[in-house]
Subunit: 179 residues, 2 copies
């Protein structure tokens, strides 16, 4: 398959990607002395571009250090007006329906997409545009926050590809959409 939309995201046991007050510290609570990247480097090699929403974009902008992505980034937002000057070569602002967005990105020559951010993932799932789920589960029940999944119009069947345990604590399962 030439085109593929991949979700790569971490959640709590109870399915939250951020805590009640946006906390993300629990994502880094497991000691990782050798900086195991848990499949992130392979993903980055595999994809052509990254698709994210405004919240994820603004979260990444808030991180210390240089811009972290070597692949083109598409930010999906109706409300964001402009990309910061220094990032205009690396980041493109888009809006529209999910199907239109994917078509625009394909038309620009990018076919293997890393789809990131809670709302964007939910909207792509609603439009049945996710081909692969790579979900990393951290060993905590957060008890509230921003949920990875939302209500969908239809069930989506997936095929389990593989499951790996990292650092003895972190479980990552890969699933492929079956239509």
């Amino acid at each position: 398959m030439k085109q593929k939309n991949i979700v790569f995201i971490a959640k709590s046991i109870d399915g939250f990607i951020a805590g009640k007050n946006g906390e993300l510290d629990w994502l880094h609570a497991i000691p990782n002395p050798e900086n195991n990247d848990m499949g992130y480097f392979n993903l980055m090699e595999e994809i052509d571009a990254i698709v994210m929403g405004k919240t994820t974009f603004e979260t990444v902008l808030g991180f210390d250090g240089d811009w972290p992505y070597s692949k083109p980034v598409f930010v999906l937002s109706h409300s964001l007006k402009e990309i910061p000057e220094g990032l205009k070569a690396k980041v493109t602002l888009l809006y529209g329906s999910e199907i239109e967005l994917v078509k625009k990105i394909h038309d620009l020559g990018y076919f293997k997409l890393y789809v990131d951010g809670g709302r964007v993932v939910q909207n792509f799932l609603k439009a049945d545009l996710i081909d692969e789920l790579r979900i990393t589960t951290m060993p905590i029940v957060l008890g509230g926050g921003f949920s990875l999944f939302d209500i969908l119009p239809n069930s989506l069947q997936f095929k389990h590809l593989k499951t790996e345990v990292f650092l003895e604590e972190v479980v990552q399962s890969h699933y492929e959409r079956v239509k």
Copy 2:
């Protein structure tokens, strides 16, 4: 630890234990020609008694065949008035707070408990009374239904014990509460 409350339950990738209309068929959608019990037999050997709510009890009553449990069953319900005549030796009706319920069951000599059913699991988690989570994930995004997890007053840290893949499709992770 002499006493232990264990959850053993199957969910969809998106955390539902039953579909929008109570559907459970997706739990049995993966071909299982050799009837792999996925840890159920070991659990039954390990426990002293089973704790469930009214909905789970009534679901089990609706199954074809004999009563399926060899261990004593405690049904937690405020609304259920009576246990069917033929089951009175095997099933006990209880009500009260989760802490009171566990104390009553301990006083009867049962210490290793299998805690089953959506609402009961949620209430036990709210009271921080779950010592072990054994969660089986089926390869489907249901898109709605009855959620395994509910909002909690506090986050609960767990330790990952093991993860197994059954039938190439079904992922089961065991977690132990860390206090």
